[in-house]
């Protein structure tokens, strides 16, 4: 078992994948991790579409400039905005849905890394087009895409700041 900090520090944004497919069971395991993420007000208004079909993938890729490296699978994380408005009001609609999508994405990526898979979270896509191509009604908004596959590269870690960005008790920057 890999400890959680090792997983967090080991995960990289992978933008080149091997062509081998990812098993359906593994993809479902990633979704299990996603739905156990925190959700603002316990709204759980997220919706997920897993894409593995090459024809569908091609269409999504054409409207997603940030989707790079030919992954064999992507997980589209969307939010039911009507439901978010009902459950979470203005804050739920405008902010919490995005936070929930991001936290679900992180759970997916960390679980994937622990299973020797590479991932990259992508926001550079045309949301309305992705929604249209996947058959979403207008109320469901794609917010993030996570690419998933066996990594074909081993990217190095960008440096992280630590002491320069953390204070105890009060800010003294």
């Amino acid at each position: 078992l890999i400890d959680i900090l090792t997983v967090i520090k080991g995960r990289r944004s992978v933008r080149k994948f091997k062509p081998e497919p990812v098993d359906r069971d593994i993809l479902m395991k990633l979704l299990e991790a996603a739905v156990w993420a925190p959700s603002g007000g316990n709204a759980q208004t997220w919706r997920f579409v897993i894409v593995t079909d090459k024809k569908v993938m091609r269409k999504i890729r054409m409207v997603s400039p940030g989707l790079l490296g030919d992954p064999p699978a992507v997980i589209v994380i969307a939010q039911d905005l009507d439901q978010a408005k009902r459950k979470g009001g203005k804050m739920g609609y405008e902010a919490l849905t995005k936070m929930d999508s991001a936290m679900a994405a992180q759970n997916i990526m960390l679980t994937a890394y622990s299973l020797n898979l590479g991932t990259c979270v992508i926001a550079s896509f045309h949301a309305a087009s992705v929604g249209r191509l996947l058959g979403f009604p207008d109320s469901i908004q794609p917010q993030l895409i996570v690419s998933v596959g066996r990594p074909a590269v081993d990217p190095s870690a960008p440096p992280r700041q630590f002491e320069e960005i953390i204070w105890w008790e009060s800010y003294d920057g």
Binding site: M62, L68, S124, H126
Partner: protein, 99 residues
């Protein structure tokens, strides 16, 4: 006559990539602009290579882009250095044309 279906599809993919990039770049980080431009150049070279229009200099430029384009995710200095070196590589090739 050569079957151009595959070529048309790849050009359509590239055109779509360029158009969606143009739309999204209105709101995206500024450095994504140069990244999309050099990535477009790489994709274009890849398309014509698959059509048999290969050349040593184009292959070299595509490889250079593929090796360096993700410095866009690093520091500004790294990305700038990569773009500068790409331009210098092109200039070398331009100079050779007139020899």
């Amino acid at each position: 006559m050569m079957d151009r279906t595959g070529l048309e599809e790849r050009i359509f993919e590239l055109v779509s990539y360029i158009a969606v990039s143009a739309r999204n770049l209105l709101e995206e980080p500024a450095r994504y602009g140069p990244l999309r431009l050099v990535d477009t150049a790489s994709r274009l070279i890849d398309i014509i290579e698959k059509e048999g229009v290969a050349s040593k200099r184009l292959t070299m430029i595509r490889q250079k882009i593929e090796e360096g384009k993700y410095t866009a995710m690093g520091t500004e200095e790294e990305f700038q250095a990569f773009l500068e070196s790409l331009v210098l590589l092109l200039v070398e090739q331009i100079e050779r044309e007139s020899e």
